[in-house]
Symmetry: C2
Subunit: 332 residues, 2 copies
């Protein structure tokens, strides 16, 4: 795996560096659910991670690698919320400060939480601006270092510690792992971890049906963007295009891409609520939704997915786990 910017070894280094600053989240299963589904379903619960999402793993690992001068100048990033929360917390933990470029339609709960962690928010318009331009301008004007959501080897290694724990705690050989996929960092890190330590495990990118840029790009063999103007309830993974650093990894290692509709995502949130007593955000259950919709065979196999986060406010959660006939959740 020497050709990739992240490796199992770099994830092990990250795991040691992170220590107990991040939570070793549980891998949950329910024998009654397994009996009902006819296969073994494993949930790596990063919704139970500190700051409510896996993103702190990568953000903190990157911050721990900064020089004193870089730490002092502070950091900047683009994020719809979970990476923002992770980076804001990581900045506090390392004595630094963070500025977050955040889409103006990001959930209010996430914006409020980011501010509560002491970070400054610079709003941007998803449909008319490019987040990269706004971030580049901030870097230029402020001297802050950019800590991207995935496009840095240390961010990828940090994210990969979740896959490392899944491998160690699964208790059974994994036939497949489905990873909710935005920019593709956690997906790529998981793919590398499995390729090195469990090569028989198929890794799939799981995406919202209307944001299936990685799936289409995998089929085309080149990075394809999503059309502007689309929306999904999966706010955490409404990314415009596969990452330039992550896509080559995903193209080389993934078994493919699968999708789930917003209605299937809501059903998966209800499933996690009813059968696992877990609060999940929509973008976190795209893999679970794809499994429940039968897009990857489960029968007689062991299939895992990473529940990537649980940052959602009570009102929105209530709407999304509410009756199907209330479609507000699909247009929010």
């Amino acid at each position: 795996m020497g050709e990739f910017p992240v490796s199992l070894d770099s994830m092990r280094v990250a795991a040691r560096a992170l220590g107990d600053a991040v939570t070793r989240t549980p891998v949950l299963e329910d024998p009654d659910v397994n009996a009902m589904l006819g296969g073994q379903l494993l949930l790596k619960c990063e919704n139970l991670q500190r700051t409510g999402a896996f993103k702190i793993r990568g953000a903190l690992h990157r911050m721990l690698g900064l020089s004193a001068a870089e730490t002092s100048r502070g950091v900047v990033t683009y994020s719809s919320g979970n990476h923002a929360l992770g980076l804001a917390r990581a900045a506090r933990l390392t004595g630094s400060t963070a500025v977050i470029v955040m889409p103006s339609d990001a959930p209010a709960a996430k914006q409020d939480a980011v501010r509560a962690m002491g970070a400054d928010i610079v709003p941007f318009e998803r449909d008319t601006e490019e987040s990269a331009d706004v971030v580049a301008d901030l870097v230029h004007r402020t001297g802050r270092l950019e800590v991207p959501p995935s496009a840095h080897p240390q961010v990828l290694a940090g994210a990969g510690t979740a896959a490392l724990e899944l491998l160690e705690d699964a208790g059974a050989p994994l036939d497949a792992v489905l990873v909710p996929c935005g920019g593709g960092g956690l997906t790529a890190a998981t793919a590398v971890a499995m390729a090195e330590a469990s090569p028989q495990t198929q890794v799939f990118a799981a995406e919202p049906a209307l944001f299936d840029d990685t799936r289409r790009s995998l089929e085309a063999g080149a990075r394809l963007a999503n059309p502007k103007g689309r929306r999904t309830i999966c706010d955490a993974i409404m990314t415009p295009i596969p990452g330039a650093m992550t896509f080559p990894i995903n193209r080389a290692l993934l078994a493919g891409g699968v999708t789930a509709t917003d209605a299937e995502v809501r059903a998966a949130m209800r499933f996690a609520f009813t059968h696992f007593k877990l609060v999940t955000e929509p973008g976190a259950v795209v893999g679970l939704a794809a499994i429940l919709a039968g897009r990857v065979p489960l029968s007689g196999r062991t299939v895992a997915t990473i529940l990537t986060g649980g940052n959602i406010d009570a009102a929105r959660f209530s709407t999304l786990i509410g009756p199907d006939t209330d479609m507000k959740g699909n247009t929010k």
Copy 2:
């Protein structure tokens, strides 16, 4: 501890007998919550247990101790839901059948789930009938064995396996443990586990303010009943009086009893939702509610509570974690 019907040794026996038929639920903490509260808060997450509550531990351990003839004749119990679910599942797992005497005001979701597990329900009226009479009549007429929610040494030993795991997984000496208390079985088992293995740990019974029979009984030194006709949102622990087998243990070993109002319980459910991404039922967070209300000091200490269950339907959960001004949740 030879004077008690349950011991650390009997819990270890139960843990071996149960094996992986029950889940070793995680003990969760969040460093940011700890910083906010000024102490270490540990949550033993039995809401993540198979069947959604700790009760299966005791029910299954008891069922595993039955003779072939007893298993074949089947079992009967009284339960408002969680013990019913545990016993129904345990009966299925051991090739037996279960009949459940259930209050007619038990949550519909629990009644439906009990039926879905193949158990029969016999309704009873909380305010005009005594559950013990209904159960005794069923035992007499059907020859089924009663598996009580707590008043049997094997049920207590099974419940105690949760306390055993908490001790092993806490990672720090426990200053106090708060246990949501209905009949007092889990409380008593936890008290015995701590008294034997961690005698410096204070164990408290945590009860709804209007169902504080154990707290009042501890003060009086004798079992006192709750007045008939009262209600609380904590359906799982609306018990009429401390158990005859459990109260002597609790009287001997508990540091005391604490209470929480329904409004404090709702706040604790919201806290678990927001900070831990956990679905809890009201009766499961009475200990957490008491901690958050400052009834047991947390500052500079390590305090654990057992989240006993998460069996609640989406509509009721949404109401209870909704705005304070919506008081429907308090009268449901």
